[in-house]
């Protein structure tokens, strides 16, 4: 269908975009469409199980949504059942899913030490890594020192060809060897370079091992900060409430001084101290009766001007 094709084309164009927009079919999820989907599902009469485990062909052959929803107007152009979430078992079968135009495998492997590389350290999770890191660094410097002298060694006569690719797997061999892999003794610097490479890769690997620890510490400090923020907010709210209550108390005091004829059992006081249910009775009783103290409008204005909340 056309909007799916347009969506795919747009998606492919945006693959290189660092902030891609979501796939275009998000616009299908209008409240109206969702309501239609609900109606369709009811009409179909199948339970939730069927919806989740239906086959592809059930969708296309059996569901004729125009017929079923014939009394609704403005049906969308795509089968409404596409609004359902994608089938997890199908995704798992295919063992990959596409996200923003790229395919990702479903069976994610966590980082594994590259095979074929000598592991120069032991990775028990409890032990301290730092001396080993230091050892690696010192070894690296030593190897480099050796390299400097190796590099200055005279080349044995007749040794014209560059080293074979099987010995040094850095890039391609430009001269194109004619299949002669067993070249007599490898130059010293080649071996040294390989050793340096091993060292550096091990070093990098060990540094990465620190990342989970770092993540945990970050999490911990984030939680701490969150707790403190909450406490701070609670304190502020309580402070504000205290202020307000004080103002209220002042107001009451003023009210009682302004209206000395009022006893404690006036409807107004009742209302202040009671719940909102009492509020209604207070208001009802104070409405038509004249037992309400005469609070003039000047008093109210004066009060509103001095109460600074």
């Amino acid at each position: 269908m056309d909007d799916a094709d347009a969506a795919i084309a747009a998606e492919q164009q945006e693959v290189k975009n660092p902030f891609p927009t979501p796939p275009a079919y998000w616009m299908r999820y209008t409240p109206e469409n969702l309501r239609l989907l609900g109606v369709l599902k009811e009409k179909l009469g199948h339970g939730e199980e069927w919806i989740r485990t239906r086959d592809q062909k059930d969708d296309e052959e059996n569901v004729d949504q125009e017929a079923l929803l014939s009394e609704e107007t403005l049906l969308p152009s795509f089968p409404l059942l596409e609004l359902e979430p994608p089938r997890l078992d199908w995704v798992l079968e295919q063992e990959e899913y596409s996200s923003f135009g790229e395919l990702y495998p479903t069976n994610e492997i966590t980082q594994v030490f590259p095979p074929g590389l000598d592991k120069l350290h032991n990775l028990e999770p409890g032990t301290d890594r730092r001396p080993q890191l230091r050892q690696l660094l010192v070894s690296l410097l030593n190897a480099y020192h050796k390299l400097l002298s190796d590099v200055l060694e005279p080349v044995p006569s007749g040794y014209h060809r560059p080293p074979s690719p099987s010995r040094l797997d850095a890039g391609g061999d430009p001269s194109g060897m004619n299949g002669n892999v067993e070249w007599p003794p490898p130059l010293n610097w080649e071996a040294t370079i390989l050793w340096i490479r091993t060292l550096v890769l091990n070093l990098g690997w060990m540094v990465n091992e620190f990342r989970p620890i770092q993540a945990r510490m970050t999490l911990e400090s984030m939680m701490q900060r969150q707790i403190e923020t909450r406490r701070e907010e609670t304190r502020m709210i309580h402070g504000k409430c205290d202020e307000l209550e004080k103002t209220l108390a002042d107001l009451r005091a003023k009210a009682s001084t302004l209206l000395p004829s009022v006893s404690d059992s006036t409807p107004r006081d009742l209302m202040i101290e009671g719940e909102s249910a009492d509020l209604k009775t207070g208001m009802a009783s104070s409405g038509p009766t004249t037992s309400m103290p005469s609070l003039t409008i000047e008093d109210v204005i004066a009060w509103s001007q001095e109460a600074t909340i």
Binding site: L203, I213, M223, Q226, R231, C241, L244, M271, M283, V300
Partner: protein
Amino acid sequence: MPGLEDEQSVNMDKLTQLQDCIEQLLLIMKLAVVQLVQRSDFKQVSPDIPVTKSRPKDKIDSPQKFEENKRELVADLVRKAKQIELIIESLPAPEPEQAQAARFEQLEQEMQKVNEEYQAAVERAKRLHKEITAIFRELTNAENTTF
């Protein structure tokens, strides 16, 4: 837990710093090797064997330049290696998992308690708000009925 706050801001970069420093160290190494291999002229080693070849002058550093570069490279190398060592030193010592897990649990409980207190405060504010609006309403109503 010593200074978790500043650890959080600096630790985030430490590992990246470490990785960057390692890269820079490698770069310095490479530059030094290139210096030795590609930018030096032939030198007479033995008094009997004359220098028969020489490299084109534009690809060569003069002896003074060579000395300079050498000093600079060596200084950089040593400085970078020292930096790396310092950073490694400052990385956190490992901690047994249980202690950390216990800390996390404690943090969570504290979090919940603080959240409850916060809720209580919000409730109090709401109640006060209700009271005050009631009073206002009553005031305005009262003044209406007094007319």
